[in-house]
């Protein structure tokens, strides 16, 4: 991968990497660190990474670094509640998009934070980053059937969280 291709991949996917890391970790500073590390690792591995599978490589690496960081720093999932909703809004530069997300979007964001890490990651990969079942299976190193089952369970939990929060989708 040459320098131009690397820069193109970074510009195209930097927000995806950052957003995924943020919603996995629930902490803006950690998300920024992880996103930077992922993008630097892409440069260090540029001779091995195939540009066409760049997005998958980035998501896979982000997932692994988030898991490592969660283990190391013992980032508690409880802090991923309402407290992170405002920072999400803060870093959204486009007010139109922000308002389009609406109340349901905010409620979903909060409910996502209540999910277990394993459930949250499949929902984020599938629903927010539009990753295929097969690619999620590769990213998480899990069988396809497990991924499907986990995704289905995670959505049901998400629905339950919304109902408990008094939000009827």
């Amino acid at each position: 991968m040459d320098t131009d291709t690397y820069q193109d991949l970074v510009v195209r996917h930097k927000n995806l990497v950052h957003g995924y890391a943020y919603r996995m970790l629930g902490n803006r500073e950690d998300a920024r660190d992880v996103a930077q590390e992922v993008l630097i690792r892409l440069w260090e591995n540029r001779e091995k990474v195939i540009p066409d599978s760049g997005k998958a490589w980035l998501l896979r690496t982000t997932y692994r670094l988030c898991v490592d960081r969660t283990r190391r720093k013992k980032v508690r999932s409880e802090v991923f509640g309402d407290a992170v909703l405002d920072p999400v809004a803060d870093v959204t530069p486009n007010p139109e998009k922000q308002s389009a997300a609406g109340e349901l979007g905010r409620a979903i964001e909060a409910a996502l934070g209540q999910l277990r890490k394993e459930d949250r990651t499949v929902v984020l990969l599938r629903e927010v980053h539009h990753t295929s079942y097969e690619e999620i299976a590769r990213i998480l190193s899990q069988p396809l059937g497990t991924v499907k089952a986990r995704l289905h369970r995670a959505r049901i939990r998400l629905r339950r969280e919304l109902v408990e929060a008094g939000v009827t989708p």
Binding site: T3, Y6, Q7, V10, K14, N15, V17, H18, G19, Y22, R23, A31, R32, A35, Q36, L39, I40, W43, E44, E47, V88, A89, V91, T92, P93, N94, K97, Q98, A100, A101, L104, G105, I108, E109, V123, R126, E127, V128, Y133, K148, L151, H152, R155, I156, L158, R159, L162, T168, P169
Partner: protein
């Protein structure tokens, strides 16, 4: 074909994900939905959650963070070499300096060094040894990561001593 609520709800999710659902199963699901309020509500909720997740705001990667990435990658002076090779080059450089020092030392029959020079040389030699040690450690770490990451097959796995030899079909025939 009667369908349970669990089966119907799994199928509703697969349909939301754009998965192909078999015609017979789809008909059974539609039949189930006609008679099941709970699953109809489930389907409506799932569709709304799906749309809500799909329209979550994008989180912008801060500009200053991106600048730092460029500084450490494409703008870095050592951008041509990967981390591994940089460490190897540093190790080689330290080794060269050490060898050159000892080479000249052989021909220096009457050294006239002041105590201060000897002290400084000692400090520098220690620093060089420290760097060489770090470089070696780093190279070992990188090599170990590659082995553990499956990028390199360790030579150990190729050793077949003591294992029964695999005979080809031809040899077996010849032997018989």
């Amino acid at each position: 074909m009667n369908m349970t609520c669990d089966q119907a709800q799994a199928m509703i999710q697969e349909r939301i994900d754009g998965q192909m659902v078999d015609g017979t199963e789809r008909n059974a699901m539609e039949l189930h939905l006609q008679s099941c309020d709970a699953c109809r509500r489930f389907q409506a909720d799932m569709l709304e959650i799906h749309e809500g997740l799909g329209s979550l705001p994008e989180l912008e990667f801060p500009d200053d963070a991106l600048e730092e990435v460029w500084d450490r990658t494409v703008r870095s002076p050592s951008r041509g070499a990967s981390g591994h090779w940089r460490w190897m080059a540093a190790a080689a450089a330290v080794l060269m300096v050490a060898l050159a020092g000892s080479w000249f030392g052989l021909f220096d029959t009457e050294p006239e060094y002041s105590p201060a020079e000897v002290a400084r040389a000692t400090v520098e030699a220690r620093a060089a040894l420290g760097l060489a040690g770090q470089a070696l450690q780093r190279s070992q770490d990188v090599a170990m990561e590659k082995v553990l990451g499956g990028q390199v097959t360790p030579a150990l796995s190729k050793i077949t001593i003591g294992l029964p030899a695999v005979q080809s079909g031809n040899k077996r025939r010849t032997g018989a």
